[in-house]
């Protein structure tokens, strides 16, 4: 049984392809890629023909930063609903953060997550294990056992590893297993009680601010530690211009430091918090235009390696409260493509570069066997229309939670079809 995707514009950064190509898929893998109309096998031999005329065909997106809330907070999201949300957003692989209940700090929880994913998830799920036991920041987790169970990185995301010595040891210890530490960079003593960026907007709104220095200081600390220890640092959801500059300097020195940015951190500023919409509350918080300009420069010069959503589903009950009491975070999987294409529209990134930061680059950083569409690669594929215009409607989200500040936004760029291992797991036409 073969599937043919024809007439599309293939963007496959890993293989340096950007042009009109046809792709033939068999047995979950790419069987052949040829220029449009030149495949030796004809349509009659394919059991399924997908006409991608006018569409971009790319490796399925990879999101290295999602919260699927299972186990523990299934009322917000489950691995099943999270995967559906991913598929609808064009993502074929996601990495789930360990701040579940129980925390993913042990083999058994990792195995549970991966088992659930296999049974109920329509996309590939990778697990990220905790750096410290129970995310408590007191003792290292069993990183070796976690790796054997399948984790691809370590993180205490949701909170930072505050203790300096512990973080030093985490870099050293993780080095033994060859996996990166992902840091949620936030000096908690500078952000205590804070619920938005510190600046003139927080001053006017009378909300306690979270200064960018809280992020900058920890990024600097980690770079300083890593310089001695070795190991690998991946900075999660970078949001401050200062932190982007620190990563740039570290890279220039040849240090193994990488980082990601979430779409909301280049799409919105703290001005969005006026009106106290709790869907504008996230950690790190929405920053200023100056920070956004620095982030765009960082994307342009590859200081910022990848785009990751920090998909953080929360139930209405967790959000429909006073601003300072609301949970941090927004869902991101189903809005990532149009927001990222906004960068292409603004000429911050080329379309190929944007695709790279959603596909081959994360695959490379986290050593995933995904993100490319050469012959023999797994047929994880997204088809999207970069020009389709529509309004974002949170009610249509596949995610169990609808906490997004982008509801009603008029955007461009729509996922038309998502295939995992050659099988269609999302189709806009049957949506």
């Amino acid at each position: 049984m073969k599937t043919l995707i024809k007439n599309g514009r293939l963007i496959d950064p890993a293989n340096n392809r950007d042009g009109l190509y046809d792709i033939l898929i068999e047995k979950k893998k790419v069987l052949a890629v040829e220029e449009k109309g030149k495949l030796s096998e004809t349509e009659e031999n394919a059991s399924e023909v997908i006409d991608a005329e006018g569409l971009v065909v790319a490796p399925g997106f990879i999101d290295m930063h999602v919260h699927f809330r299972e186990p523990g907070f299934e009322y917000k999201e489950t691995i099943e609903t999270g995967c559906q949300s991913a598929a609808a957003g064009g993502f074929t692989s996601v990495a789930v953060m360990p701040n579940t209940d129980p925390v993913n700090d042990s083999r058994s929880v990792t195995e549970y997550m991966l088992r659930q994913a296999k049974a109920k998830g329509v996309v590939n799920v990778y697990a990220i294990g905790a750096i410290t036991q129970g995310l408590k920041g007191e003792r290292l987790s069993e990183m070796g056992d976690l790796k054997e169970a399948g984790v691809v990185a370590y993180s205490d995301d949701g909170r930072p590893v505050m203790n300096n010595e512990l973080m030093r040891r985490a870099f050293e210890y993780s080095k033994m297993f060859g996996l990166p530490c992902i840091q949620h960079s936030e000096m908690l003593d500078l952000t205590e009680g804070g619920c938005m960026n510190e600046g003139h907007v927080s001053t006017e709104l009378g909300l306690k601010g979270m200064p960018t220095e809280a992020e900058d200081i920890m990024v600097y600390r980690d770079i300083a530690l890593l310089t001695k220890t070795g190991g690998r640092l991946h900075v999660a959801h970078i949001s401050s211009g200062g932190a982007v500059e620190l990563v740039r300097l570290a890279k220039a020195k040849g240090l193994p430091v990488t980082c990601e940015v979430a779409p909301h951190h280049f799409a919105l500023t703290d001005e969005a918090v006026r009106g106290y919409d709790t869907n504008t509350k996230m950690s790190p918080p929405l920053r200023t235009q100056t920070d956004i300009d620095a982030i765009k420069e960082g994307l342009r010069d590859d200081t910022i390696d990848i785009i990751a959503t920090d998909h953080a589903p929360h139930d209405v009950a967790d959000k429909q409260v006073e601003f300072n009491h609301a949970c941090f975070g927004i869902v991101g999987l189903e809005t990532a493509l149009p927001l990222t294409l906004g960068l292409v529209e603004e000429k911050v990134l080329t379309l190929a570069k944007a695709v790279e930061k959603l596909t081959s680059k994360p695959a490379q950083l986290f050593q995933l066997d995904r993100g490319a569409l050469g012959v023999g690669d797994v047929a994880d594929i997204v088809l999207f229309d970069p020009n389709a215009e529509y309004s974002i409607d949170v009610k249509k989200f596949k995610s169990r939670s609808k906490n997004s500040p982008f509801d009603g936004w008029k955007v461009k760029g729509k996922v038309m079809r998502t295939l995992v291992s050659g099988k269609t797991v999302y189709s806009a036409s049957s949506d």
């Binding site: 927080s202 001053t203 709104l205 909300l207 409260v321 006073e322 300072n324």
Partner: protein, 311 residues
């Protein structure tokens, strides 16, 4: 007479016309409180609910008296007696009250933005009686009423607001309203109590009390909100007082006709000396009197402000 807004959530965004309408109406209502029978039938049959999630004596009482002098039925619900302690959240509480058809909801809450949140769930007008460190519009309006009474007009006046600017909703409400009315504001205090980028609200910033009061028409002393400080904002109260207490000695540097206002309650001897507080330039008690008139005016205007006989 009506206002262009449905709710009074803050002075930010209130037009000059709205502010003047409120102050003029308050002026005309003030006389009612001096009568032997301090009651007019204007809001008879109307229900005003004071929903206070934070302790308050002065403001709650002022709203209650204002409502009663207009013949409204006033119900007080405080944080300790409300369902807040049972875990019923703010929105559920408001929805339940809404189901009993109040005409005005007066809300005080420790969270900035809480009254704005409630406007999505209730139909009646909401008056913000103080939300977190955000706004306290009725306090600013009564301050302005008092200043206007004493100074004749407001445009062009220079004001120094002194003290814990960071935690002060009174300060923010005054800044917005004073800017709208063409007054010039300087905020004064230690840098640890001045929030970042406040100059973008159009005010000057000073760390020196004596210099900053030299040429102003009004000095507004703010209470040091001892309950909201963490240990890093202040060295000691003694040093705060040394640097920022308005004493008669310091007052000699100010103009003869300077007015001293304070939103209360006062930490005597910390931000203001007792003799200054009780001295001739202090209008602190006039503010309290005017508070009732301003709140009467707001209730009246929000409920339509029909020109019926106030007698």
């Amino acid at each position: 007479m009506t206002l262009s807004v449905k709710h009074i959530l803050g002075t930010q965004g209130l037009s000059r016309e709205d502010i003047e309408t409120i102050l003029d109406t308050a002026d005309s209502f003030k006389e009612i409180s001096t009568r032997p029978i301090k009651k007019v039938p204007t809001l008879r049959g109307r229900t005003v609910i004071n929903l206070f999630f934070e302790p308050s004596t002065r403001t709650r009482t002022s709203f209650e008296i204002a409502g009663k002098r207009l013949s409204a039925d006033v119900i007080n619900i405080s944080g300790s007696t409300s369902s807040a302690v049972k875990g019923e959240n703010l929105i559920d509480s408001a929805r339940n009250l809404e189901a009993m058809n109040p005409d005005i909801l007066v809300v005080r809450h420790e969270s900035s933005g809480a009254p704005a949140l409630l406007t999505q769930f209730v139909n009646c007008p909401i008056i913000n009686a103080g939300d977190g460190a955000h706004e306290h519009p009725t306090q600013a309006l009564l301050d302005l009423m008092t200043i206007r009474e004493k100074k004749g007009s407001l445009a062009g006046l220079k004001v120094a607001i002194v003290g814990d600017i960071m935690h002060s909703r009174v300060c923010r409400s005054n800044i917005h309203a004073m800017q709208t009315l063409g007054m010039q504001v300087t905020v004064v205090g230690p840098p640890t109590m001045i929030p970042v980028e406040i100059s973008r609200m159009g005010v000057k910033v000073s760390y020196n009390l004596e210099e900053s009061i030299r040429d102003v028409d009004v000095i507004m002393m703010l209470r040091v909100q001892l309950e909201r400080q963490n240990q890093f904002h202040l060295a000691t109260l003694r040093e705060y007082s040394n640097l920022f207490c308005l004493t008669s000695e310091r007052l000699k540097k100010a103009r003869q006709d300077v007015l001293i206002v304070h939103p209360g309650p006062v930490n005597r001897g910390i931000e203001i000396a007792l003799d200054v507080m009780e001295g001739p330039r202090s209008v602190i008690l006039n503010q309290v009197t005017n508070g009732v008139a301003v709140r009467m005016a707001l209730m009246y205007l929000l409920l339509g402000g029909s020109d019926e006989d106030l007698n």
